[in-house]
């Protein structure tokens, strides 16, 4: 029976989430009571300031009162690494918020920040969930908030369409997930991850478990947009307003991959199987390996044919999902570190990329390649940021993305030494392909001559500009000195509990 002392402990355990919930309510209140009367720019600024302060507070609590261990009730656990993930998520949420630029949907500014905060809450919960129901609830919280964020631009048809598609796909995926969870409960009678894992490892697996595993993979696969569950991604990435898309691409991925890592690692430990060359044993590993291979291949090849930069980023996200799955396959300390590192780096790059793309889109009215023509002349700093971001995504040194990919490959190659080399080879090969399409965008920005000589520099609000610059600096710093982040992650992993 959970008593009041336990509730107090539980409250301490979820301080960041509480802070963010409070922020969301605060913003709504502020908007209703005061900000609504102000003119657009001021209103946005005020609400953004409120949101940022709330988020900063949440971040602060993770530093001042970090929680470690399993909370009473067994549904909530947090380790040092999970804390790093949460910190990353909050920062990403803050950065995405800063990207909010004036647009048709600014009249819903208050709702935007509120729902954003709630999405963050959902993601943070995903990061600490230890119980099947908790997992499902947090996933749903995050997802529903993201659907709303996608559709928020009521003036644009694409936004609504994207939101609807996301919702429909998401609903189906949630159903899969739930069904899978119920099968797992049915097979083992357990709901917490550790117990689940122990039960599966002990007994001989029920055929039903395989079905459950497949369904769970499907559900998670949808969240991270890997093949063949990725069909929502291009439309959503294209239709959603930039700030929302940034969050979907960054925060949602980080949280989902972290969750998958924990779930597959401890929850489904017994049903792992093996997919390394010559050692096929059925389980979720070969399944994920297949999904990873398909995602890397299809994501990169589909990106080759895109004419819209946002869709290109979407397919690139699909392929990056594939790379991150490699880290999950690697398991162990290296695997976990590589997943956390790269998902954080990838998240930051996505935020920056969406930022730049949205600025260009606002200026040109569309996001096809020729919107970028002559960018290096018009706004050299922005063009340079674009170069850094895209090259980080491509995995070119000295940027953080290179080290992240490298670490993923090294981690998975070390398992049963070189057992997974076939997958690593596919990954490296597809990385080459990705350079081509990123260079195409950069070619437009740097090489192609603009049609008019006197194009003015782009108009970008200050905090959005600062956000992009911050991201670029982070990418360079982590590229030169990955140890800054990696050291923290390893240190955290050594402390034990994930």
């Amino acid at each position: 029976m959970v008593n009041s002392a336990a509730y107090l402990d539980l409250a301490k355990a979820c301080l960041p989430e509480l802070a963010l919930t409070a922020t969301s309510l605060l913003v709504l209140f502020l908007d209703l009571v005061w900000a609504r009367e102000l003119e657009d720019t001021r209103r946005r600024r005020v609400l953004l300031a409120a949101f940022l302060s709330g988020g900063a507070l949440a971040l602060l609590t993770t530093f001042l009162w970090p929680f470690a261990g399993i909370a009473p009730g067994g549904m909530w656990s947090l380790g040092a690494t999970g804390l790093v993930v949460k910190q990353g998520l909050i920062v990403m949420g803050l950065l995405s918020a800063c990207l909010m630029a004036p647009g048709d949907w600014s009249e819903h500014a208050g709702e935007y920040f509120a729902v954003l905060a709630l999405a963050l809450v959902g993601m943070l919960c995903m990061a600490s969930a230890e119980h099947l129901l908790m997992i499902f609830a947090s996933v749903e919280l995050a997802s529903l908030s993201l659907y709303i964020l996608t559709a928020l631009n009521k003036g644009q048809r694409e936004s609504t369409e994207a939101g609807l598609k996301y919702f429909l796909f998401g609903g189906v995926a949630a159903a899969f997930l739930l069904y899978g969870f119920s099968l797992l409960y049915g097979a083992t009678g357990e709901m917490t991850l550790k117990a689940l894992g122990a039960k599966l490892a002990a007994g001989s697996p029920d055929p039903l478990v395989w079905v459950a595993v497949a369904m769970v993979v499907a559900g998670f696969g949808f969240k991270v947009a890997v093949v063949p569950f990725h069909w929502w991604a291009p439309d959503v990435y294209q239709g959603a307003p930039a700030a929302s898309a940034a969050l979907i691409a960054s925060g949602s991925k980080v949280a989902s991959f972290w969750l998958m890592l924990k779930f597959m690692g401890s929850g489904l430990a017994g049903a792992a199987g093996d997919g390394s060359w010559g050692h096929f044993v059925s389980g979720w590993m070969p399944l994920l390996a297949g999904v990873a291979a398909l995602s890397m291949v299809m994501g990169n090849i589909a990106a080759l044919g895109q004419s819209s930069v946002r869709r290109l980023l979407a397919f690139s996200a699909v392929s990056h999902g594939g790379y991150l799955l490699l880290g999950i396959l690697a398991q162990g300390e290296q695997g976990a570190a590589s997943v956390v590192f790269y998902s954080l780096v990838y998240g930051f790059s996505s935020i920056g990329a969406f930022g730049v793309v949205s600025f260009v889109e606002n200026a040109a009215g569309h996001d096809r390649f020729d919107a970028f023509t002559g960018l290096s002349k018009r706004s050299p700093v922005l063009a340079f940021s674009l170069m850094a971001l895209l090259l980080s995504l491509a995995g070119v040194p000295p940027l953080a993305g290179f080290f992240g990919k490298f670490y993923l490959f090294a981690a998975v190659a070390a398992v049963k030494p070189l057992g997974w080399m076939w997958l690593v080879s596919i990954a490296i090969a597809m990385s080459c392909v990705s350079l081509y399409y990123y260079l195409l965008v950069l070619k437009q920005a740097y090489v192609a001559a603009p049609t008019r000589e006197d194009m003015p520099p782009l108009e970008i609000p200050l905090c959005a500009r600062l956000t992009v610059l911050f991201v670029v600096v982070v990418l360079f710093v982590l590229g030169f000195f990955p140890e800054f982040l990696l050291g923290r992650i390893h240190h955290a992993l050594k402390l034990g509990v994930l």
């Binding site: 490298f406 490959f409 070619k443």
Partner: protein, 501 residues
């Protein structure tokens, strides 16, 4: 101290990026200062260098301890030779680009970034770090060609970038595998060289990594990016690409593939030798058929690099020393040849078609260019007295010991080399119908406005490069001692055991 060759290049990049002084003069000045610093330091270290076979470490600190990656800058005789080459080529390239007016800050920024990356590769003794610098060099190449190039530049740039990237992808795969198999402890090259991987592993690791590096060195049949890319590139970029960047591939093949996987070399060396010879002979034959002056030089680069690869594959010390010497020699000569064709001829005549150049009586109008090309052509043909001869001599000796038919085929390549060089020289400068005329008449069949005279910068660049080639050709002993001492050092112990010298 030698690390400042690297640092000065990147510092130059930062200055050019962040200090907003407009105009070409500033950009050139910064670039020249940066590369002169690099060259000066390289020369100082060269003078102080006492070849003892040991690696001289400049800097070593733990970079990413979680993975055992260090930031390790060091050098031996081979690295020093190539750093010297890079310093020379970079200064010469800037001298030959003195007239760039379009977006000069970005041009020189990309140029210096490329130089920095190249220096980094030559000075790195940690495999991860070497790979990082290797890849850093790819992106500036792309932009240098795509923005400031000429014929078919976007295609040429993309092809070059993708081929390079594919090559480094192959290397990445082997790198990860080697790291894992050696216990996931360290990426330090000297340590990895001591590991002694299993023969089965080396059987596939060697060819994959060698080919991965050698793609950048123009290994036939993966060489097709080179002529297209070099022709498309602006003069300074061509000089660097053919002169230095191709050597990156050969250096990587030597420093990584051959040192780490000597058993693999033993298994595959004959096949590589045949590919190298194919490059020598076919490259020369194709050069003979070209009608674009720059393509002739482009294919001749493939042919000359074939000698480097033949030397590496010949599995004896003469061939190995010859290969490194040829890297240096061809680096100088490629710079010279592209400088003449690109800067002296093309920038004035605006054509590179040999049939059109025939009409222009260049031999009389640009006597300095003609004389430079004659000397550079002699050097390129492998005439004694120039650096190319000593290098080719060593490579042939090495090949002779191992593969007589390959040596004979390489000899054939030399003769065809004489043919295409003479043919291009005749058509471009000394076409028979516009031969020696009475002083004072130009009588060019295609009259045009007077051309600007050859500038001081061009003359300086050309004369220095020629002087170096002749100096090495006449007195190569000191450089050969450097290279030999490096091969006798501890780093190549594994290779030494397999090859035996």
């Amino acid at each position: 101290m030698l690390a400042w060759t690297l640092y000065s290049a990147f510092l130059g990049v930062l200055v050019l990026m962040f200090v907003p002084v407009p105009g070409a003069r500033w950009a050139r000045g910064v670039a020249l200062a940066s590369s002169l610093t690099g060259l000066g330091i390289a020369l100082l270290e060269a003078v102080k260098f006492k070849p003892a076979g040991e690696l001289i470490t400049i800097q070593k600190w733990a970079w990413i301890p979680s993975l055992g990656i260090d930031f390790h800058l060091a050098y031996d005789g081979i690295s020093l030779t190539l750093v010297l080459l890079t310093g020379i080529a970079s200064v010469a390239g800037i001298l030959f680009s003195w007239n760039v007016e379009k977006r000069p800050r970005e041009f020189f920024a990309f140029y210096l970034a490329l130089i920095g990356g190249v220096h980094g590769v030559f000075l790195s003794f940690d495999l991860f770090q070497l790979f990082v610098f290797y890849e850093i060099a790819i992106i500036p190449k792309y932009f240098l060609i795509a923005i400031w190039g000429s014929t078919n530049r976007e295609f040429g740039a993309m092809k070059l970038a993708l081929y390079s990237f594919v090559g480094s992808a192959l290397v990445l795969a082997v790198m990860v595998a080697a790291y894992v198999l050696s216990g996931s402890q360290t990426f330090s090259l000297p340590e990895l060289a001591k590991v002694g991987f299993s023969a089965d592993f080396q059987r596939w690791a060697f060819p994959v990594s060698f080919v991965g590096f050698a793609i950048l060195a123009g290994l036939w049949p993966f060489h097709t990016w080179a002529p297209t890319g070099h022709v498309a590139a602006p003069t300074a970029a061509s000089m660097l690409l053919a002169g230095v960047v191709m050597k990156l591939g050969a250096y990587g093949a030597l420093r990584v593939s051959m040192a780490l996987f000597p058993q693999g070399l033993k298994i595959w060396h004959e096949s590589i030798g045949w590919l190298a010879v194919a490059g020598i002979v076919l490259g020369a034959l194709v050069a003979l058929a070209q009608s674009d002056f720059k393509f002739v030089i482009g294919y001749s680069s493939v042919s000359h690099m074939g000698f480097v690869l033949l030397g590496l594959a010949s599995m004896n010390i003469a061939g190995l020393v010859g290969a490194v010497l040829q890297m240096f020699s061809h680096g100088i000569l490629a710079g010279l040849l592209f400088g003449v064709v690109g800067r002296m001829v093309y920038d004035r005549a605006h054509t590179r078609n040999l049939d059109e150049l025939k009409q222009l009586n260049l031999g009389r109008e640009l006597p300095f260019a003609a004389a430079t090309f004659v000397l550079a052509g002699c050097a390129s043909m492998g005439l004694p007295g120039f650096s190319g001869f000593v290098a080719e001599l060593q490579v042939l000796m090495g090949a002779w010991k191992r593969f007589p038919w390959m040596a004979i085929a390489a000899g054939l390549g030399i003769v065809v080399g004489a043919a295409y060089t003479l043919r291009a020289m005749q058509r471009a400068f000394f076409a028979a119908d516009a031969g020696v005329l009475a002083p004072g008449t130009t009588e060019s069949a295609a009259p045009h406005d007077p051309w600007e005279p050859i500038s001081c910068a061009e003359k300086l660049g050309a004369v220095s490069l020629l002087a170096i080639s002749i100096a090495i050709g006449l007195y190569p002993a000191w450089m050969m001692i450097w290279i030999q001492s490096a091969f006798d050092g501890a780093f190549f112990a594994g290779l030494r055991k397999v090859v035996g010298w």
